[in-house]
Symmetry: D2
Subunit: 142 residues, 4 copies
């Protein structure tokens, strides 16, 4: 299995607020950026997932903020699928500074699979390749 | 014809940036808020427009920023349809402070009508009631 | 003690995404809207808190999404301070549809008090009125 | 003078809306991304400009939308300073698809220089190096 590369995000001015640091809601958006980059790296780019009539909504999110990020900085995000039970999966994120020495924030998102009519989907049937990947990835966690 | 009420928007913290004022991109979003409120006031709420298989995309936008807006302030937006040629229309916005004494910004957006497949639509045929309204509204401007 | 009124938010078009529902990151922004409205209702509007050289950053956030919200809907948010230990406090949010029958999402945010140089502040000393309110509010929870 | 490289932006899911294309307000944010990348390329990164007690607010913005951009696409932005009179300057942007064959949008932003107290600044005095660059850059346009 190929190694997953961390995701880099350059902090934008419009992501800051009056406290002169990045607004906390944007970390949730960075989680999404990192997650979609992850899916691309494992050869399941999200636009193709959508073409297969699948959606991967967010069921839950949590984030712990440890040190503020400022405009002009580059952050490095490590993404990992930490749970999968065939129906739902959990992704974990760690947001570091560029040289990987400061942990700015960490969090999780939980997801399921739906079709475009918002009905739950068994990916074991509908997307066995994706099922296979997730199952292998989290084998040691079950 | 009923009079259009101005639209009020309370400035949110997440709309500010490191300059401690509202980020300029949010005025474009406020234009949208005011425009959709306007459509609701004239009894063409946008969700119903979408149900009629119509979309009203933005073809162009311009905004002139005169005085920064800060968190905690309330702004008042005056919205007007200033041009309509049967195909395209132009909406004008003036963003004031709450008591209408400071003009913070002003701008325009230009629009057309599409169906959900992104094809141009003649609303004279497809939505004659909407056509009628727009035509009457801008009679003096043609 | 006066009763806290729920906070209402009208869903904006720019808050939706390709799934045709509100993007999950915006719920985190709605939590902020509701929290700042709450502070205003208890007579500690955030701009005044900032004038007292205080900031209330977010240390953590969690949200559980139960049912998607669409453009054009109005949501009602119930906000409550559920924990306070003199240093940190936790706010809980429930996002309902307008008539309070569907629970769309619920979550928490955790906060502390900093001065504008990002140093921790004891509000018992610096803002005893605020301390008093929070302590009374959460008396039954300690 | 070194050549300016175009700026690349990967379209994010949270930038789309119910029309399944990028929300028009995000192009204004991409202009900012491209402008700040431009300043970095000419060796005036914005964080350093802020350290010199300068701010470059937006006085005006305009954008013409020609063809919608979808999630998953990469856009290429060409940025140019097209006017400078010592006090104000205008930046022009062209947003293409990745292979430079489709012009998705084009627009301008107008700017001035302020100090952190929001007072106008003559950069000829306060930042002669920046003045020099802008003056040379737009020599042929005056």
């Amino acid at each position: 299995m190929e190694e997953i590369k961390p995701y880099y995000h350059k902090v934008q001015y419009y992501e800051t607020d009056t406290m002169t640091v990045v607004h906390h809601s944007n970390y949730i958006r960075w989680f999404e950026e990192a997650r979609l980059d992850y899916l691309e790296q494992i050869h399941f780019p999200y636009p193709e997932i959508e073409e297969r009539n699948l959606m991967i909504p967010v069921l839950g999110v949590s984030c712990e903020y440890r040190q503020a990020v400022r405009f002009g900085e580059m952050v490095l995000i490590e993404t990992e699928i930490i749970k999968f039970n065939g129906i739902k999966f959990t992704v974990s994120y760690k947001i570091y500074n560029e040289n990987h020495q400061v942990l700015h924030a960490q969090g999780n998102t939980e997801h399921c699979f739906l079709d475009k009519e918002f009905h739950p989907v068994s990916i074991k049937k509908k997307a066995p390749d994706l099922y296979e990947f997730f199952a292998n990835k989290t084998l040691h966690n079950r």
